[in-house]
């Protein structure tokens, strides 16, 4: 092969390398910036924090939930606890069903099988998906579990477990 032909082959080879590099960079950038910014984990944690602050403070169950003068649970709060805790779960935009589920369980601190009170709100269909966490299940829901102790009726100590579930898959996962 003469020298001119060799030079031509080299320039074609360089051109192919440039195209491959440019294509690779374009693909990587698209994958990186095209993937939505998944904030559901933060959202689920914020939701459980807000509920915890609403139902208990300074180690005591809130007086919104217990009438300490009469020593009774307040049914009105239990039935509408999302309203009382300033939570809005109304579906918006493309969704017809709410994208949230919250569940609050009060157990006897000395007998954690003894469920004393249960409150829940939102779409309970999302709850079983919490068991399917990890790789390959990104398109399901994100769950947050929080538990703490608080003093309540007749100075009883309760273990309070809060489960929050956020779906919003379409906006957070590709």
């Amino acid at each position: 092969m003469n020298k001119k032909a060799e030079e031509k082959i080299i320039s074609v080879y360089w051109f192919i390398i440039l195209v491959v590099v440019a294509g690779g960079v374009f693909l990587m950038v698209n994958v990186f910036y095209g993937a939505p910014y998944d904030v559901r984990n933060i959202e689920a944690n914020l939701l459980s924090e807000q509920i915890a602050n609403c139902i208990a403070s300074e180690g005591k169950v809130s007086s919104n939930l217990i009438d300490y003068s009469q020593n009774v649970w307040l049914e009105e709060f239990i039935d509408h606890f999302t309203d009382h805790c300033s939570l809005n779960f109304n579906p918006t935009g493309e969704w017809e069903k709410t994208q949230y589920y919250v569940e609050v369980n009060f157990y006897d601190a000395f007998d954690i099988r003894n469920l004393i009170l249960n409150m829940s709100e939102g779409n309970s269909n999302w709850k079983p998906d919490c068991e399917l966490q990890g790789k390959g299940y990104d398109k399901l829901v994100v769950c947050s579990k929080k538990e703490f102790y608080a003093e309540g009726l007749s100075e009883n100590i309760y273990l309070i477990k809060i489960l929050t579930v956020v779906r919003k898959t379409e906006q957070n996962v590709k």
Binding site: W14, L18, V21, A22, V25, F26, V29, Y33, P36, Y37, V39, I42, E43, L46, L47, E49, Q50, D83, S86, L87, N88, F89, N90, T92, G93, Q99, Y100, K168, Q171
Partner: protein, 129 residues
């Protein structure tokens, strides 16, 4: 007639310049992607919605919005129209160019107001009546 050494130098010089131009275009493309209107609309809407969720009533948030404001200005969007908050549906909508916007829902049921102030956006959070 030019000598051979001169030809080789010229060819190498053109090759290096073309490579630099190519790398420059790639770097510009990368920087443009990170500061693109669509990307900023999405991230800003989500970040503001999380800030609202994390804020108790009677809070005032001061957000540095210099970059989104520059992009909005270049695209002919008024500063007052960058952030829209629907207090009925609890939705934050960010728009940085015409016919483009991104909305994200926040669960904290509060009354939110927003307005621009130089390079900042002020967000006030009050209890819903």
């Amino acid at each position: 007639m030019r000598n051979k050494k001169g030809d080789i130098l010229m060819e190498n010089l053109i090759f290096i310049i073309l490579n630099l131009v190519f790398l420059g275009i790639l770097v510009l493309f990368l920087l443009n992607q990170g500061n693109g209107a669509i990307f900023l609309e999405r991230t800003s809407a989500k970040q503001i919605s999380l800030l609202i969720d994390a804020s108790p009533p009677n809070s005032v948030l001061k957000l540095n919005f210099e970059k989104p404001m520059e992009i909005a200005k270049d695209n002919g969007i008024a500063m007052e129209d960058i952030i829209k908050i629907d207090n009925e549906k609890n939705v934050v909508t960010i728009s940085l160019k015409e016919k483009s916007s991104y909305s994200y829902h926040f669960f904290n049921d509060v009354e939110v107001d927003s307005y621009p102030n130089s390079i900042y956006y002020i967000i006030t959070i009050e209890e819903k009546i």
